[in-house]
Symmetry: C2
Subunit: 142 residues, 2 copies
Amino acid sequence: MLQSLDHDSAMTMSAVLAANEAFYSAFAAGDSDAMENIWSATADITCIHPGWPAVNGRPAVLDSWRSILSSNAPLIAAADAEVRVIGDMAYVICNEHLEPGTLIATNIFVFEDGAWKMIHHQAGITPVPTPDRSPAASGILQ
Amino acid sequence: MLQSLDHDSAMTMSAVLAANEAFYSAFAAGDSDAMENIWSATADITCIHPGWPAVNGRPAVLDSWRSILSSNAPLIAAADAEVRVIGDMAYVICNEHLEPGTLIATNIFVFEDGAWKMIHHQAGITPVPTPDRSPAASGILQ
């Protein structure tokens, strides 16, 4: 419930954003080990890559990332992140800038053993942001 | 934390699925009033329609739905729903069957005043499911 948030602080949102950034750093570096560490080790995780069907469960999700990261290490950078925290769960929506286009993602995290771990990711196509939707103009959190 | 779930029961998952179904019923009926009731009245909700930039905040999200529902009431039906519950938050991933294609969605809900209310929706393209990914073959929850 929004009224009972115990993680709704600037520090908590920064920690969620850091987890989100770590995901994109692992992605951009093509680092499967780092990617494995991003995801919850205990939750029944899920992932929806752009244009893919859903991938369910840690073995299949991590296999999908190993496949993606071994075939190409894309130039990817997250921007325009928006964070919402509800208790021990949080989600981030952000743009993913790649060549030649832009995707938009929903990334869900849980607070697990003292750290925010990803439990779900969905990315899909979105228009390239126009200047009036830049971070400075839209109250973006980072 | 997955260890402290208090909603991880068949009854709770059914309630989340019912909220998810109510969303698609409102969508298919083109019912803006029902759609408004689906969404949290208190959370800072977000929505990512297929091919759109993010829509942030209840007024903008509800406006986007009024626009979509007034222009066409699509033949849409959800299938292959998977539910995850973490405390007072839950998410559903499911396919959205429309003419002429299939989308895949992430729908996030919070338990608010005794009911599961949507706080985020993202839909994007996905392949049309093949028979070996049918509900009967993949352990789908509904």
